[in-house]
Assembly symmetry: C2
Homo-oligomer: 376 residues x 2
């Protein structure tokens, strides 16, 4: 576990549940990605964790930002981000949000259908726009595919329409899904984008940008390929398809930047075999699916757990949250083992929880206050 966070918890003994994030680790991850993929501009996906200390640090490092809403645009501006460094990256935007962002100086917007493009033409005239393509999410642990993106054929028409509407048809984007384990997913998507670049060029429209989205995986319970592996695959595919005419490359990492920088510190509320004789115990924590661990839905994201006695004799457990909701179960099918003498009142840590935890947290489900956050 991150030594700075370990020390903070030991010294401060913060009330549980809480999220502790090492902002230096955020910086280290940002720098690591920049080194692995120096050709790309990094647009941090603010939705992964919009905490001010993270935004402040990233603004200082020269990061750009991918905002999902006007509210996130506003958070970036408050942290000192240049509006020219902000992409409004949600394909679904209220007119009021488009207007507010445009008035604040934001000039880059995504879309994936004609109706959204028409909104942009009207309320963000002249802006750079890019179209999101639908691509395969097959190897992603948190897939994103059904709701967003359009076909190559439709994107072609829409980019030409964007020009006719007085917008600046800047480029194309795709998302291979979050926590994507296969570099091939990027290669396949880049090939598809490249063919559309060629098509549109033949139609007299030269695109200048590829937004590769995010999806770079982090370590939960198992090792994942290093970022260099993805970077090499991406750069290889880009070189193969674009040669010397390399377009602007954007990436939108969220989980990769903040995930491993965070630890959720939680208390065991109850441990019980509940009358079972097969050795399985139920362990109830003071945080669950509705306290921020929403990505445990369907046991998709499987966090690593640290106790004060790792290595002690252990046995299988099911893990659940503290609410009266029957759906508030973290892991029942996935095998987890915890110390045999684990007891109510003990504190344990969930690693890799810096991303998509503080914001999913409910306002007060079952009366529980939102997750406390510490940025160190």
């Amino acid at each position: 576990m991150n030594p700075k966070i370990t020390r903070f918890i030991a010294e401060k003994n913060p009330a549980t549940p809480c999220l502790v994030v090492d902002v230096d680790e955020v910086e280290a991850r940002y720098r690591a990605l920049g080194q692995a993929l120096p050709q790309a501009r990094i647009y941090y996906a603010v939705k992964a964790n919009p905490a001010r200390p993270i935004l402040d640090r990233l603004v200082g490092l020269g990061s750009c930002f991918d905002a999902a809403s006007w509210e996130e645009v506003s958070l970036c501006l408050q942290a000192g981000a240049d509006p020219a460094a902000i992409s409004f990256g949600n394909t679904v935007k209220k007119v009021s949000a488009i207007r507010a962002a445009y008035e604040a100086g934001v000039r880059m917007f995504v879309f994936d259908c004609r109706e959204e493009l028409e909104k942009l033409a009207r309320h963000a005239p002249g802006s750079r726009v890019y179209c999101r393509l639908l691509v395969d999410n097959y190897a992603a642990e948190w897939p994103l595919s059904r709701k967003f993106g359009t076909t190559v054929e439709s994107a072609r028409d829409l980019m030409l329409a964007a020009r006719d509407m007085g917008l600046d048809p800047y480029g194309l984007s795709f998302h291979v899904g979050s926590q994507q384990l296969s570099a091939e997913a990027y290669e396949v998507a880049i090939a598809r984008v490249a063919s559309l670049f060629t098509d549109l060029s033949a139609a007299g429209l030269d695109l200048r940008m590829i937004n590769l989205g995010g999806g770079f995986p982090i370590r939960y319970r198992e090792d994942v390929p290093e970022i260099d592996h993805f970077a090499e695959a991406i750069f290889g595919a880009m070189t193969e398809h674009f040669g010397n005419a390399m377009p602007d490359m954007l990436v939108e990492p969220g989980r990769f930047i903040v995930g491993e920088a965070g630890v959720v510190h939680t208390e065991v509320v109850l441990v019980s075999a509940r009358g079972r004789t097969d050795g399985l115990r139920w362990v109830y924590l003071d945080i669950g699916r509705f306290g921020g661990l929403a990505e445990t839905e369907n046991e998709s994201i499987r966090y690593a757990i640290r106790t004060g006695r790792d290595g002690a004799p252990s046995g299988p457990v099911a893990l659940a949250g503290p609410t009266c909701d029957g759906a508030d179960i973290l892991y029942e099918k996935t095998r987890y083992d915890l110390p045999l003498d684990l007891e109510s009142g003990e504190v344990i840590d969930l690693l890799g929880t810096g991303a998509y935890v503080s914001t999913y947290c409910s306002t007060r489900f079952n009366g529980f206050a939102p997750l406390a956050e510490h940025y160190i």
Copy 2:
């Protein structure tokens, strides 16, 4: 749609998304349940909607309260509830929460395993305790079964142990699942509880209470059996099994009391066929699964939708929320039809949203502020 809420929305034109709750309707539902089942004391399940105007009204009506946490106990006390009218109804409680509730005068607690019972014996000595039995949730639209409850055999041992620990072994509870459509589920559970009453009586322990839980369904898109139907089945089963020696009967309705009293007023952010030629349009609202509509997970709860032009020519839609999360889809498999000329910027209403919406809402996922609430 509720005429008071219709008028409020027409007159005030509140910003979307928001929840509007008719507190008079809450009272009407409370009274209707009391009339249908006069033998039972009503413990309102605070988790369904803990808003102060609702608690105030129910305190005034003499309701008791089922609290899921110390924080909910505290909300009830702030609204003027008598601590003797509060049941701490979560089988999973922190020691600090048990202590705080006990110190505040709460004397009724649930448990479903020995470890929790031991906590109660130590930190809430002498309190009334009741044991939650595991029962079948098969006809519930939002089942609760796996995480809670114990077997009849285990409950027998635990109730005897409770007596030995100096607690007051008051009774038994079960939950047939939320939005339960079958009255038979109650009948089966009552029979099981009754047999355990008999067993324990033979062992020298006379229980005095049955907590029937909640689960009474409300109307979403389809009619559901009237509350009288459930009340008759329950009273019939109770009479059959207990005759003149009727124990105290408790019910813990949440959804039934507040669900139909609420309407979510939402704006259509985008409507698009997204290149499809089969007539299906995607409709994106400014509220989704992470803005409070968590019960649309797996399309479990299917809200009725009202537009300003119901009856106009309509066609099939998929419905999704406003976030960049691919999981933020409300209905894709369930058939919904909306007007063919539905447009971005229109407001529509989701009915039956008074329960389990305001509290599931995330603190700020994708930057969106928590759902605004209006109690009228």
